[in-house]
Amino acid sequence: MSRFVRWSWVLPRLVLLVALYFGIEYLAGLAIRLGIVHGGQAAVGARVEVDRSVVSLRHAHASIAGVRFANPSKPMENAVDVERIELDFESGSLLRGQVVASHGVVSGLKFGTPRTESGELPVAEPAAGSSDPLGWFPGGADAAEAWLADVGEKLSLDAADQFASVRLAQEMADRWPARYEDLRARAKQLEVDARQIRDDAKEAKRNPLRGAEFLAGLPARAKGLESRLRGLQAELNGLPTEMQGDRGRLAEARRQDEALLRKRLQANQLDSDSLTTYLVGERVTGPLGELMGWVQWLREAYPSKKVDARLVERARGVDVRFVGVTDRPDYLIRALELSGVATISGVPSDFAGTITDLTTEPGLHGAPTRLAIKASGPTPFEVRAILDRTTDVARDEFLVDCPSFATPAATLGAGEKFRFAMAPSRGSLSLSLVVEGDELSGELQVIQDNVSLTPQVQLAGGEFGERLRKAIAESMADLPQAATRVTLGGTVKRPTVKLWSTLGPAVAESMQRSVNRLVEGEAERVAAGARAKIDEKVAALDAKLAEATAGATAELAAPRDLIGQLAGLGGGGFGSGSLSFERLGTSIPKGGSLFK
């Protein structure tokens, strides 16, 4: 044998080979640690840390401890924190150039644990796809806030001063005293004229020859005065009737004003869909955006591409896939047991489950990847997922069922002016999502029991906001149950969302009721204010007119006496037969009776 073999060369190399094996035993752990760190960072886009890793080629076993994936969107938080990973490899697979783990255990799995240092990468690597949730509910929040602003604007108006009835009362208060003043002035003038004629007549009587002409015309002048007196008297008599007409117009104007006020203050009907979007939209878009980001990332990280070609191009020549060779992925974990703690709404729950057929090349592997996780304890839940790449069209299916979980205190409402503080309660959640090809379809349903909402209204004009808040709070009875359903559609890159909830209609009805009541009260208040103003003006007018009537009647007494004296001076030739001065005097209504 030694004739052909150079043992002096072979033996040292064999020793070297053994040393190399032990070296690999040590270095493989380091290599796997570096692989996880770099591969993980490239996939997640945030810092990945591994505390310790030991690989035994002899036992085909790997043990990795303390694996932490930082959350790319929250650098001071770990997205996933794993206490220990144990993997048992199929040794035959390594000789075939593949890494196949027949069984694995991931224990101490936690989510969202705090970090002591930032998980942000110095050079930003492409993060897991994040869907932009904005624009899923266009205009929903605006509509609700616009409605509220409209209500506020309407109720903050002081409409009383703009009432036609108030303006009419003011106009009457200005017009009627002036009218009486005019009447009194004319009565005064009549008295002056009568006095002048009487004095002239006396003078003429003392010297009849000189005053013959004047005395001849005296009856005519006295008649003129009498006619003017009758006119004034008639005018004075007609004033109560005219005043009555004004009162009727005032009453009509007041009725119209009140009707107009109620119409103006009528709050628009609040659209319950808009309110649903306003209240729940923001709470839904965040988690859904994150979910869609993960789905997109999963689609990229878990390709559906199958290697169907029999010849695969290489740098030199081609690799031939022989007929009968089973295609196997380079990396495969047949079954991976998972256990850990999931914290939902601050309540930790132990969970356990398995992932089967987890591989980097699902297109080559004949079975879909399945995930099944079940948690018990205060927040029981079940998660099932199937990632199927065995057919031409990739299909992902996700089912989440959480029959009872504590919902923490939260603030509902996308705007800042109007929100609801929701008290903690209990609820259930179910999610069903199917991604077939690029098509997305699914439904998320959340049912909350005993929902207690407290309105937080911040509107310009603090008094109104406070009144509205009180009104809404009074009418907002606790809802025994609130159901919210989100229907997903569209494609993975452009998902569409339809939101339905009983919360919106219930709150809308409650708000509408309270706002209507508030509006009704406000309308009544404004109308009462207007009524009081009118009544006050009318009362003042009545008092003024009573005084004015008495004054006018008194003013007419003097000219009547003077005209009577003129009749005496004229020898009783005038004033008789038509209207005696006594009759004229008695026909004047007594002061104060005009406006009864």
Binding site: R3, F4, V5, R6, S8, W9, V10, R13, G92, L95, R96, G97, L311, R314, R316, G317, V318, D319, V320, R321, F322, V323, G324, V325, T326
Partner: protein
């Protein structure tokens, strides 16, 4: 030490002239070197050929020289290697055999499912025997005059002497 390292390639070349190696050993080294030169290196086949070249009692110097020469020119032969290998690997009756070999432990590491690897290995096999015969004939024919020619120079004598000493040392 440094001088030894510097003169090692020359010594390896001159070892061909050393009477310590028979013409058959030199020719076998050349044949193995040709095969190694043809085959792409990132395969278990190349590793095995390299180990054989080093472990067998053949002239390593000649083998490495041939491997380096053929290796630098091998990619020019890739089109033929590829065609030959592809023809062989796609033979229908052989598929199950190939599949069984491929599925066996270390199967993919051999690289024999690659058309150029198989084609170049075949070319190497094909060329090995003619190379063996030619090199053996040339060594038998030209080694004595070449040794005489090298002995005329001081450097030649020195290198031949070192080689002889090394060979004796190895024998002791």
């Amino acid at each position: 030490m440094f001088a030894e390292w510097l003169t090692r390639p020359l010594r390896a070349l001159l070892s061909v002239l050393s009477s310590n190696y028979s013409s058959r050993q030199v020719a076998a080294g050349a044949a193995l070197g040709v095969m190694l030169g043809f085959v792409p290196k990132a395969t278990l086949i190349a590793v095995v050929l390299g180990v054989l070249l080093c472990a067998l009692r053949v002239n390593r110097g000649m083998g490495l020289l041939m491997a380096a020469m053929v290796g630098s020119l091998a990619h020019f032969a890739d089109p033929w290697s590829h065609r030959l290998g592809l023809w062989l690997l796609t033979l229908s009756p052989m598929q199950s055999t190939y599949a069984a070999v491929y599925e066996a432990p270390l199967g993919p590491w051999w690289g024999f499912h690659n058309s150029v690897v198989v084609g170049s290995l075949l070319l190497g096999f094909y060329a090995a025997y003619p190379v063996y015969l030619v090199v053996k004939g040339l060594v038998d024919r030209f080694r004595p005059p070449a040794v005489r020619w090298a002995s005329r120079y001081r450097l030649g004598r020195l290198l031949l002497g070192i080689e002889l000493t090394a060979t004796l040392g190895e024998a002791v």
